[in-house]
Symmetry: C2
Subunit: 272 residues, 2 copies
Amino acid sequence: MSHPYFLRVAYLGTAFHGWQIQTSARSVQGELARALRKLDPEAPLPQGTGRTDAGVHARAQGVLVVLRRVWEPYRLLAALNAHLPMDARIMNAQPAPEGFWPRQHAVAKRYRYRIQEGPADDPFEVDRCWHVHRADPLDRTAMEAAAQALVGTHDFSSFRHQECAARSPIRTIHQVRLEPETGGFSLVFEGDRFLMHQVRIMTGTLVEVGKGRRPPEELPRLLAARQRSQAGITAPPAGLWLDEVWYQARWGLSAASPWGEPVPTGPDSPLA
Amino acid sequence: MSHPYFLRVAYLGTAFHGWQIQTSARSVQGELARALRKLDPEAPLPQGTGRTDAGVHARAQGVLVVLRRVWEPYRLLAALNAHLPMDARIMNAQPAPEGFWPRQHAVAKRYRYRIQEGPADDPFEVDRCWHVHRADPLDRTAMEAAAQALVGTHDFSSFRHQECAARSPIRTIHQVRLEPETGGFSLVFEGDRFLMHQVRIMTGTLVEVGKGRRPPEELPRLLAARQRSQAGITAPPAGLWLDEVWYQARWGLSAASPWGEPVPTGPDSPLA
């Protein structure tokens, strides 16, 4: 028999070479697989909702694991945490319905990009934010105005890494908002799925707007150009957090998506 | 000429063997001295408001440094930060009046002890809190009730390390309060000065009350016993934060103390 469980996994990305398992580098998927196989040596590889880059953090990576025996969810959580390093933790575990896949059945995600300002880096935020050193604070109003051009369904070719393997550059961003924080603010992006480095390139470009180096009105032109070279720098990974993932409501594994469940189309559709 | 500056220093205590300079171990005072002497090889040792233990954090360690030339405060901050490791940062710098001493002229301090609960440690809070693993949450009402017995001027012999070098065990606690936080809460202690391990022993004892192992009514008896063995365990250093220090208003270096400026008496008085 195979018994699937759905996990909510949090990790401090600093000492990981990202989510995806690799032969030599330390990865979250690799550490999870190692812990899982202490409980069941034949367990298949844990499946996540998607990759995160080296240095990127997660509060809510969704992970499916499959074991050969039934586990009481709290005991599974405690047993896996006992075998995991302290920078990756199972925060929640529950039985998953047969047929559920975290990547294919995710309908929306929230990423948070944390920016801190001021003359000195906060020693408690090193590796957890992008500290932008400037005499003047970033122009938050201009950044919010510029961000609105990204909302909607667009070709994001200008905002993806040149090695991005997604077949379609079309993605939908539901909302971008700026949330004040002590010492700075977050840019919060909610969308259906994201391309490789998309949030970091959007953030790097918006920070250039915040510094006054690009006018907010330039964003529609950048999108239309469909050229990576037109957009701004790729913001560093340390500021990026995978904050939330919503799944199709029929699986009963998350709150309902605030953005409904539009069916993605095109070559990258999970249904294709 | 000697030019004194007053610094507000923040540090993540995890990789430091405490504040005080030592011959072989890494300390905050030692790292500060090293950075300072890049600017002025003859600068005297930086003076703090007091010691913190290995693993204890600070947001507001007050530090006096003396240089032979005048520095624009922001340039001094930036120059010192350029020579400091990322886990210790100068957050603020200002000229200090002649005759000011951070330890002697501090009139009150606030320590925060951060406690997290729940089935899994938050990977972002490891080394920054005490995670108390229990099925039931701690009884916060009982802890707050017990804490009130500590408020006032008492002989805290039961709540100090056996190697504490202070000549008098008499200290004044102005307030203890419980502040809710995501995933747990903080115990906030404001007082005139604190004995060695005092906050950690008070916290360890209050957590035993929160677990139902001691009744809150026991606290007055513990104080009266004046024996370390009567009180609870010493809570781990990772949860402790030096949050704020207030100085005599006449120096103009901090907000006025919310607790006034009572003059401490007895053998540990800075005026003795």
